[in-house]
Amino acid sequence: MSRNDLFSRDYLTRRDFLKGSAAAAATVAVFGAQRAQAEEPAQNSPEEPIRAGIIGTGAQGTFLLSNAVKVPGVEIVACCDIYEPHLEKSLILAPDAEPYQDYRRLLDRKDIQAVIIATPLHLHAQMSIDAMDAGKHVFCEKMMAYSIEQAKAMARKQRETGKVLQLGHQRRVNSTYRHAYRMLNVDKVCGRVTQVRAQWHRNGSWRRAVPDKSLEKQLNWRLYREYSQGLMAELGSHQIDAVNWFLNALPVSVMASGGIDYWKDGRTVYDNISVIYEYPGGIRCTYTCITTNEHEAYYEMYMGDEGTLVVTPEKGLLFREPKAEQLVWAPMAHKDESKGKEAIVLDAGATRRAREGSGQEEIKTDASQDDYYVELEEFFHSVRTGKKPASDPESALQSCVTCLMANHAAQTGRKIQFNEKMFQI
């Protein structure tokens, strides 16, 4: 069998594979291809395409890239990574992009309007600031920055340049979260919220395979404190950002405890951390992030005197307290059973549609798109229109401060009091 045969795995990596197959497909579907050309242009967007580049094409960057190339009206024209295998992989996803190993050369290109940054945490601030200085709009992965000062510098640069700066807190665009937010805050389905519990539990080392020991810190940067703020930054910030958002509040204090207690493999960031935040009004949020047990994986749970709302990107569940009055629309809602209790399922719009008869406004939500795609679509929409993204520098700075202070509390063993100044740009 020849290596180029369709029975081999070459179809995944050969750069010219699609060219040949697309031509073959066009031959077979002549009618369809001609009609497609005649009826509408290949480009979905009526406007000039946005030319964008990506800096950092490792695991997360690749994921963003695979979604960015789907956004109509966007051309990915440049990919940058210092690690060649990652750069090569990105060119399979964006075959027409120019490869770079120095991000400053990418920023030199005048034709690029926007960049996606998915590099290790300690590089977010410098690269974002350089990009905005170079006149580019920026989508930067979360957490916003390695330090509070760096995050503030990014936010200040955004204000100075007027460029779009969007952070990758994708729960802000998730349809279940948007729906759950309304139910908690407008419909008050939990009554008065008094307690929040959230977790992200995994069972794994969080370590990536490295082909050569010299690349350990480059590829496993998440495990080393000089580059990473550990679990609170990489996992916790998604959820703490959501808690700040859902409670419409910032915490007043934090206590925490963490350690390197299981994965004693040379890492210098915690492999588990437990945190207690106090929010105004006596609301407490307990948060745990561990790497040795994945039972119940991840969720945020809002507990109130009338109900409990459990939210994940995939599903939202509402449990009413036995003493609470039945919601008018509850009999019509989609229900499920969880741990022997009946729950109302918040599946992106369905719960709302069930209550149209009650005269309430329907929330238009769309569960049919991947969150990564939706956040990038929103970013490029902001680039076109100047509209503020949902994950803006202000809210991202707040999440960054909230998470970094938990680390600080764990490291010092002290209860930390937040003050307004910490969150001010």
């Binding site: 369709l6 029975f7 073959a24 695979s66 075959p95 395979a209 991947d370 795609y373």
Partner: protein, 323 residues
């Protein structure tokens, strides 16, 4: 489905409605991280191709593709282009543009039902890769008419295995075995004893001790048979493997085991072989190198082996060893 040396590292993950299992040698450095990387690829395949995830590229194409071009991931485009080439090779015996038929017969997550012939005739008009246009320049997919649906059954799990194997190979792994449920398995190199990986084929309803054992080295193997999922009606049993050319379930008893390097291709080839039978399969594999198919009867007895031409390179799958 696999028989491994005594001391191995095993990792499991649920995806695409089944349990995936990766086996690595005990001395493999960074084994947990490699497993994570491999399963990430499986999840990626699911997110791109699953008809059960509304946000997957396939679901978006099925939903929006008749109204206009749908921009998809380049990887999806590659998978579709590959699957369509396999359709052409098998003269339509394997075809992922058969979602209309799959849904009509209730095999897309519903209960099986026998449709009327006029319903089948209508669904057949919406079947076939000629109803799907790929545009590489714009990275889009478009459906030619309303009712056309893609269904990656017989391809998607193999695609996930290919992505995972490619990730492991790129990370320098020389020895690994991964299976997707019980239908497809892919191997890198040999096992920790230096022998080709031993893969047992168990025929449902038969004594497990009578399983055939095949050797696999740098290749993939997929099994297709109609007793895996079926329903009965009007005194007949209807299996889940549909012939996209006639719109009816395949009635052939027994099993087809396909072997080649790519698991996506072996997945598709096993399905096509069940549709085409030994003679038809031999015709399409003539001159196609080492890809081959072994046919078993309903009791698990090997009937015939076709393909496996003399061209060098590619998958080095070893001969049938024993029952």
């Amino acid at each position: 489905m696999t028989e491994e040396p005594a001391s191995v590292l095993r990792f499991r993950r649920r995806a695409m409605g089944c349990i995936w299992e990766l086996t690595l040698c005990p001395d493999q450095p960074d084994a947990p991280a490699l497993a994570e990387a491999a399963f990430e690829q499986v999840c990626l395949a699911e997110r791109l191709l699953s008809v059960f995830l509304p946000s997957s590229d396939i679901s978006r194409i099925n939903r929006e593709g008749q109204s206009g071009p749908v921009k998809v991931s380049p990887l999806t485009l590659r998978a579709l282009a590959h699957a369509f080439q396999l359709s052409e090779l098998t003269a339509g015996a394997f075809d992922i543009a058969c979602g209309a038929l799959v849904r009509l017969w209730g095999f897309e997550g519903g209960e099986g039902r026998k449709p009327a012939q006029d319903e089948i005739t209508r669904a057949l008009k919406c079947t076939g890769r000629h109803n799907v246009m790929l545009d590489e320049a714009s990275g889009t997919v478009r459906l030619a008419r309303p009712g056309v649906r893609l269904n990656p059954g017989g391809y998607g799990k193999g695609f996930g295995l290919d992505l995972a194997m490619e990730a492991l190979r790129a990370a320098g792994v020389q020895s690994a075995l991964m299976h997707a449920g019980t239908s497809s398995v892919a191997a890198l190199g040999v096992d920790s004893t230096g022998r080709p990986w031993q893969v047992g084929i168990r025929i449902p309803g038969q004594n497990e001790g009578r399983a055939a054992v095949l050797e696999l080295q740098d290749g993939s193997l997929s099994v297709s048979g109609i007793s895996e999922q079926s329903f009965s009606g009007e005194g007949r049993r209807f299996g889940h493997v549909l012939d996209p050319r006639t719109g009816w379930p395949v009635e052939r008893e027994g099993w087809a085991v396909a072997l080649c390097e790519s698991a996506a291709a072996s997945d598709a080839l096993a399905t096509a072989a069940l549709v085409l039978g030994p003679e038809g399969t031999e015709r399409i594999l003539r001159g196609r190198g080492e890809a081959r198919v072994i046919f078993y009867d309903e009791k698990g007895r090997p009937i015939r082996e076709v393909g496996g031409g003399p061209e060098p390179g590619g998958a080095r799958t070893e001969s049938h060893v024993s029952e």
